[in-house]
Structures are given as C-alpha cells and as structure tokens.
Symmetry: C2
Subunit: 335 residues, 2 copies
C-alpha cells in the first residue's frame, strides 16, 4: 500500500507551477492557457490525483450533492423513484446520497442530521410511518437548505410536495369493486398519521357513500401493512360476516393475505376479490394476478428532483403541491 494522498501542491511542486493555477486547470477554468491546462491534467492523472471533495465543498460552501431518504430501498416503488432522481441529478451535475429510514422515526432523524452535517444542498424525503412531528426538518431548513417531500405528503403549507392523488385512486379502486357487484368490502389501511393512508381510506369511504353502501368501522383494519400483517389481518377478516372483497392500501399486505386465504380454501376472486396499491412487480406474476394501482414512480423522481434543484438554485424554500396521476390496473384478482 503506497498510502500517498496527492494534492494540488504535489502537482504544483512537481511542475513548478503555482497551486492556484493547478486548481484552476483542474476546474477547467478559462484563465489558464490551453497548454498548461493540458500539461496539468496529464500530470494529475499520471500522479493518481483525485480531488479532495471535502476541502472543495468546505471552501465553496456547496456540496453539489442531494440527500434522499426513503423508508426502504428494496421496495420497487422507491427504487424506481430513486432511478428518476439519480438520472435528473446526475444530468445536472449533482451526486446523490441514498439513505433508508426503515420506517423508524429515530433513524430518520439521525439520517437528516448526517445529511445536514455533510452539507447536502437539499433533501428529498418520503417520511417514515412513525414520523408525526417535524422539528428535525426545521433544524435543516433553518440552515438554509430546502427539503422536498414526495409520495407521503407532509407540511403541505410550508414545503413542496410531489404526490399522487391517493384519494381519487382509492375511490376508483373501490368503485371498481362495487361495480363488480361487491357489497361488503374490507379496507386494509395503513398508519393514519400519514396523510397518504388517510387519503386512501378517505377515497374508500367516499366510494362506499356514493353507492349508498354501509360504512362499517369494523371493516377497516389498520396496520403497518407488512407481510405479517397480511396474514394476521386475514384471520380477523375471516371472522367478519359476508366479506366479498378487499381493498388494500398496499400490495404487500394484499399479496400475503391472498396467499393465506388461498391456503384456507378461499377462492380469489370468486369468494373474495382483491385490489392492491403500488403495482409491485410480484403483483403481475402471482396467481391470480393482482388488480392494483400503478404510480408514476420514475416520473415522480424526476419531477421532485427538478423542483428541488430549482429551489437550490434560487435559494428559496417554497410550498407548491404537485399531484401526479395514478392508474388502476385491472387484473384477475377482481374479475
């Protein structure tokens, strides 16, 4: 191991050119002759020079990096959003720091602190299921950098949000079941501190109302919508009378519920029809294939990043809510 850290001063000494000129050359400044610039760049590569971004960021007070916090990178929806974020950010010359909160408030808080102390120029976040107060965002914003929320709306009055129309999508999903002749529809709901799940629940209730169906609170089962929840909720569901359909606020719970119910001899969709939410790749592949709501994930990443970069450039925190259109994908589980 050579253990050498080449700096601009090493290049400077090696060539007998001042380090300020070396710096300019490495930043492709106009104020260096083409000849010296070429020489410096060549020498830098030969010597194995790699800029120390820490020093550069410290000096310029600009990191050209944005932070991203998602609940889990393994969720297809989030990794697609990240793809959109990275594409937009890289095109604009920004790096991206990806973090996952694992739905934990404490961890989210710590991550915001880490991103802050690394002086990222802005943060894109989809808050954790546990998050219900927001001081940790204030500390970062007071520092002068923008936070933008996506997917899970938050502080609509103060911050920019890029979300989908959950209410409408859920309304349509539920109405789809009603039009298929279902009358006793259970809703698998998520944590109500997230507006997203409130809205999905709201759309469900609203569709029932429109079609004069009875709204029974015991038909609304709340959980974290994990795989395990799908199983335990299915047991509760079997105890309810006359259930003939389920609208789940995500695919994960819907799929594990379907698996469990199939084992118990329930026929899907004949006995109980299902609609999920998210369009996870599995949903197209299971048997029966799952009717679900597809969200414009990649586009959401692009839109969110574009808006964030604009705020970074303008040095302004604004509030604006961008609502994207989801789409109901009808498959076998509701036919």
């Amino acid at each position: 191991m050579k253990n050498k850290k080449i700096t601009i001063h090493d290049i400077s000494k090696h060539l007998g050119i001042d380090s300020s000129t070396v710096s300019r050359a490495l930043n492709n400044s106009e104020r260096v002759s083409k000849k010296t610039k070429a020489l410096i760049l060549k020498t830098a590569t030969e010597m194995g020079y790699q800029r120390n971004s820490l020093a550069s960021k410290l000096r310029t007070n600009k990191s050209n990096t944005i932070g991203v916090v998602v609940p889990r990178i393994s969720r297809h929806f989030f990794s697609s959003v990240i793809a959109g974020i990275e594409e937009t950010a890289y095109d604009a010359g920004y790096d991206v720091m990806i973090c996952q909160s694992l739905e934990s408030f404490e961890r989210e808080k710590k991550l915001i602190g880490t991103l802050h102390s690394n002086r990222v120029d802005g943060i894109l976040i989809s808050i954790s299921m546990e998050t219900n107060h927001y001081d940790h965002f204030d500390v970062y914003e007071n520092h002068g950098s923008p936070i933008l929320f996506f997917d899970r709306p938050c502080r609509l009055d103060k911050n920019t949000n890029v979300i989908i129309d959950d209410f409408k999508a859920s309304f349509e999903a539920t109405e789809h079941l009603i039009k298929a002749g279902k009358k006793h529809i259970v809703h698998l709901s998520g944590p109500q501190n997230l507006d997203l799940y409130k809205n999905r629940r709201g759309g469900y209730v609203s569709a029932l109302k429109k079609h004069k169906l009875k709204i029974d609170e015991s038909y609304i089962l709340e959980s974290q919508l994990m795989k395990e929840d799908g199983v335990s909720l299915s047991k509760k569901l079997l105890a309810l009378p006359m259930v003939d359909a389920v609208f789940s606020a995500n695919d994960t719970a819907a799929i594990s519920a379907i698996q469990f119910l199939k084992e118990k001899g329930v026929r899907v969709p004949q006995d109980i029809a299902f609609v999920g939410f998210s369009n996870e790749p599995v949903s197209a592949v299971i048997d029966p294939s799952l009717t679900t709501v597809s969200q414009p994930d990649f586009e959401m990443g692009k839109v969110a990043t574009t808006l964030l970069l604009k705020q970074i450039k303008d040095k302004s925190i604004i509030n604006e809510t961008r609502v994207l259109k989801p789409k109901l994908i009808v498959r076998d589980s509701s036919k």
Copy 2:
C-alpha cells in the same frame, strides 16, 4: 429561511468559552468539566448547531464512512446485503454511502472516483457485469484505503473477497435435476468475464460429467440474464431438441422464461423443469413456485463489513477469501 450556519465559533462567542473547548465538549472529550460540557451541549442544540463533517473529516483525515457499490439496489439480494452492511457499520460508528452501477462499467468507474474524492475509509463492491479491468480500483487503493469484493469475486490474489460457493451450489442444483430423471438440461449462463458466472457454469458442466451426460455447447445459452433475455432465450430453447430441464444462473431469467413457456403451452415441470439462482422473493410466489439457490445475503453483508472495518483499523490491505454456504431450496418447478 434563516440561512444561518452555526459554527463552534458562534457558540464560543455566545458563551465566552474558547472554540477549542467547545470542540472538545462536542466530541465528548474527557478534558472538559462536566458543567461546561453540559452547558455547551445545551447551547449547541438551542442554537441549532450541526457539526460540519466536511471540515471535521478534512482535519482528521478520516471520514468514518464506507462506500458501497452494487449493480442495482432493487435486487432483493443486494438490498439484503446492504441491510447487513448498514447494521454492522452503524454499530461501529460508520456511515454508509450507497451507490448503484446499473451494471455499467463507466458508471462504476465514476462512482469509485466520487467515493474516493469524498474520502470514504473503504469500499465494498459487487462489480458490474461489464467490468473486466481494474485500474480504477488501483487508484483508490494506492491512496491507502481498502476495497473488498463481495458476491462477484474479483482479484482474489490481491483483495479480500466474500463470496459464496457458486460452483458447488450449481453442481448440486444440476444434480438435483439429473436425479429427477432429466437428461437434456439447458444452462442459462451469464457474462463469462464474471467469475461468478464462470463458476456456475462450471458446476453445471461438472455435474453433467459426473453423471456421464453429454455436454453440448449449444445447450449453454449466454446472456445478461435480464427479463428480456428470459424471453428471447426461451425461443432459442424451443428450437433445441429434447430439452427437459433448465438450470438458470439467476431467478429473473428463469421466471420470465417460465412465464413465456407457459403461454406457449409448455408444462412446468412436467415438460421442462426449472431451477433458478438467488431466491428472489417472487420465486416463492409464482406458479409453479421456483426451485432455486438461496444465498446468505444478510450474513454476507455483515461478514464483508466486519472484514473491511478490520482492514481500515489495521491500515492494511490483505487478501483473504471467505466462502459462504448457499442452500438449494426445492419447490414445485422441479418436482
């Protein structure tokens, strides 16, 4: 927006205590009285202080951060490895920077540069499918920091690798098909510049040899093993005579092949049996469920990180190869 960046000097002035004492207090040094330490910490929080890690890292020449490069974060295997990495790293007081190469050599090279310039203390990487030369790793290592390869072995003579026994797993997977009475087994193979796919192919060939089955090169179909490849390879496969089984070097290709063949009226496993590799979550859920090889993903992340942190601590780059045990999971696609 307040746009104030609080520094230790602001706290220093505010309290009339020297900034060096403030620094010590914030680093929980022994050499500050409990009383002043408490006062300083309290004031820091009140003033919204957040350490500038850039300055700190620059000064100490230590980032307490490790970089991770994987082909894609959306692949279940990699996100599980990352979970293992994060757990181990956080416990040791390290941050983790996650990057994805998207199987592109150019992008991988750029990412290594970015991690280098951010002075991460070490890098964990599963190289891209395109990667077949390694100068970009040398530049980083010459700087004095360790690189450790996982899953996809690389430079076994120079670097530490944490891998699984692909040869043995593939041997067993193929033998499993042979013992089920299959005699004309196609292998869906990956890019041969990756040792990983060479080994999987080797295990396949070796099992055929052991059981005196003919090895026919035209029965080995090479691709990037993407979803699309599963479809196009299936077409080729239907043109081959007497195929009664497929051993695929990953699940993705196997699953899309199964879907395609089912549409064409092929019965799985009666007409053609399948074994995949990776144990993606979908593989348990599709119909028929896919026999596959499960890898110790989370453990791999933990082991790799532990070894890397040791090298960072010891300031040494060593070569050591740690081989983990995979496991054949028999499901319906091979029964």
